[in-house]
Amino acid sequence: MSKKLMALLAALLLVASFAMAAGEKEAAPAAAGVVVDQWEIPFLNSLTGAIASIGEYLQWGAERAAFEINQAGGIAGKPVKVIGVDTALEPQLGVVEMGKIVNWALVALGPVPEPVIMAAAPIAVENEMMTMTATTSLEYAERFFPWSISWFPATADRLPPLATEWAKMAGVKRVVQFVGVYGPWPGMAAAHVDGLKAAGAAHVGDVEFNVDAVTFGPLVVRALDMKPDGIILACWPDKAAKIVQELKNRGWTDMNKILLFSSADDAALYTTGGAALNGTIIYNYINVDTDRPRWIAFKEAYSRDHNGLQPPSLSTNYYDAVYMIKRAIEETGVTGDPRKLKEERKAIAAYMFNMKNFEGLLFNWDMSNGIPTNKPTYLFEIQDGRKKLVKEIRP
């Protein structure tokens, strides 16, 4: 390739980079009532990189909601489109993309996951735009109130009752936790301990490890040396599966006395663990055996598109988020007029912050100052890759 051509290429690339980074959306013409031809909702998501498999089904959930809404006539009569914006796990992509989005969007979905949230969400806050971080804990989301809402109540409130119920049900007295050293998980592990105390069970120790652990024999031996009769796993899904297998290899038989936390309830748990997980208990926020028609349709569609797999629990979060946006737009009379962007953003955010009786895919809940109330949690038993409801726990 000639030097001139290469120099030209490099120059073009540079110019294009600056141009796109500074890109603005054209303003729509003003009109009475709804002025947009289409509602566009950007979703800052991890579509590539280490958690691309999670980003894929989050995107699927959001697009499924958009599909259903459009089939039913759209939002205020106009179709809706979810625009996937890939930020991978990179905060440096998240900030530029959020910087573009705040110029035109009424509300955003994401970002995902925590490093990108921390970098990009403040931009949304500064521009007074709601950004719905539906996969992270309250402890992250509340930093950006009132321009975000939490999908989960406080960890210290929601987790102890789960641990208590499980400990009583399984009859455990000495519990060891495996804790993945990442984000909110150590905090969640601490909340489990509070729950164990309430059940009269002793927390005999934590076995911490990092994401690059590839074998689990040493960790499991350390745990078993503490002579537990119960195990809680608060770590990555595939590693949780391997730990369960390792426990079984070392003679653990009472699978009900193993509790997996909600963040482990992901496709990676089931593809890695398979039948080894049978009998273990897992807690989460969606009950896959609910007979709501919308849920059944969702489940069937997911299964069709994902080789027969069941929807992971997080797949419903952004589905519900899109429906929340629909309701907020329709109830507040938002028009999509760019000249009213600031006030309409405020209206949407304020409405969502205290939305009452939202009809989610699986259950109804209220938002109170950005925090969901009366959301149930469930204990399930895993059997052959499926979750069987054991107990519902309401706050």
Binding site: S17, A88, Q92, L93, E97, G99, M118, P122, G183, W185
Partner: protein, 300 residues
């Protein structure tokens, strides 16, 4: 200036500075990955000083630079003239150690990270302006220093070390001192970058400082050109911007495209886009033009 353009420019400045931070030790054939650990340590230190102890940003920035420089200097006492492999292992070790220490330090937020760092000046808009100016002043200053280094005896000595360490020694080059100098300076730059990186985001999270950053900076250096400082200036915005301009369908294959570009450049243009010869020709042309202008400003 739009927010997107601000972040693009700010992160590009960090990329340029950090890539220079890797470029400089590479002039003596060292892959000095310690710089990522310097970013992390100085960044969290500054965050702690500002948020927990109420220090001003400017003091924290100076201390961040200093922490990077001091750590880099102390380590260089041991590895200034070490083989490349040793320098690589040192870098990896400090990245692992610093990440583990921060994970376990509640005072800096542990695994949750540090949120809501204050602005460096008044409003968010002023904060951004100040940071951007500061970043590009640093780019100019560091660029000037590296330029002067390259065009000095030290720079020529570094080139000799890169080509043949033994020959350089026999010509009187003090390898250890040279190694100490470049490593200390690169760690100093990295320390400052760590502070600024966090204040761009106004938060710190461990996943801001990963081995992935090493890959990014190496790609910038080798695609831009590892033999001169100018390649980084072109490659940093181009490679960063590339990820932002790809259409959605293609963007999902971004990492493959990155890897392919890197391989293609290494195979077809091993010295990178901006070779030493090209940089020399451009400099000569500019020097000739300047001389012509000085001797005959009217061009008669």
């Amino acid at each position: 200036m739009s927010l997107a353009l601000y972040y693009f420019l700010a992160i590009t400045a960090i990329y340029i500075l950090m890539s220079w931070g890797l470029y400089l030790p590479y002039r003596v054939a060292h892959l000095h990955f310690l710089t990522v650990a310097n970013m992390l340590i100085s960044g969290y230190l500054a965050g702690f000083l500002v948020q927990n102890l109420g220090f001003s940003f400017w003091i924290a920035l100076i201390l961040g630079f200093a922490a990077g420089g001091i750590l880099g200097y102390l380590i260089s006492l041991f590895i200034g003239d070490a083989p490349t492999f040793t320098v690589v292992i040192v870098g990896f070790t400090f990245i692992y150690v610093s990440r583990t220490v921060v994970e376990n330090l509640k005072a800096v937020g542990g695994t949750m990270g540090m949120f809501g760092l204050p602005t460096v000046a008044g409003t968010p808009s002023t904060h951004r302006t100040v940071l951007l100016i500061l970043l590009y002043v640093l780019v100019v200053v560091v660029g000037f220093l590296i330029y002067r280094f390259e065009h000095s005896r030290l720079g020529r000595a570094a080139s000799a070390v890169f080509v043949d360490k033994d020959l350089a020694t026999s010509l009187g080059v003090d390898i250890k001192r040279m190694g100490r100098l470049v490593q200390t300076f690169s760690s100093l730059i990295a320390g400052g970058c760590g502070v600024l990186y966090g204040f761009i985001y106004r938060s710190y999270h461990l996943d801001f400082f990963t081995f992935h950053l090493v890959g990014i900076f190496m790609t910038v250096i080798f695609v831009g050109g590892y033999a001169t400082m100018w390649g980084t200036v072109i490659a940093a915005p181009a490679l960063y911007g590339l990820t932002l301009i790809l259409p959605t369908e293609v963007a999902s294959w971004r990492i493959v495209i990155y890897g392919a570009i890197l391989i293609a450049v290494l195979v077809l243009k091993p010295e990178g886009f901006i070779t030493r010869r090209l940089a020399y020709r451009v400099e000569n042309a500019l020097t000739r033009k300047r001389k012509r202008h000085i001797t005959d400003p009217k061009g008669d």
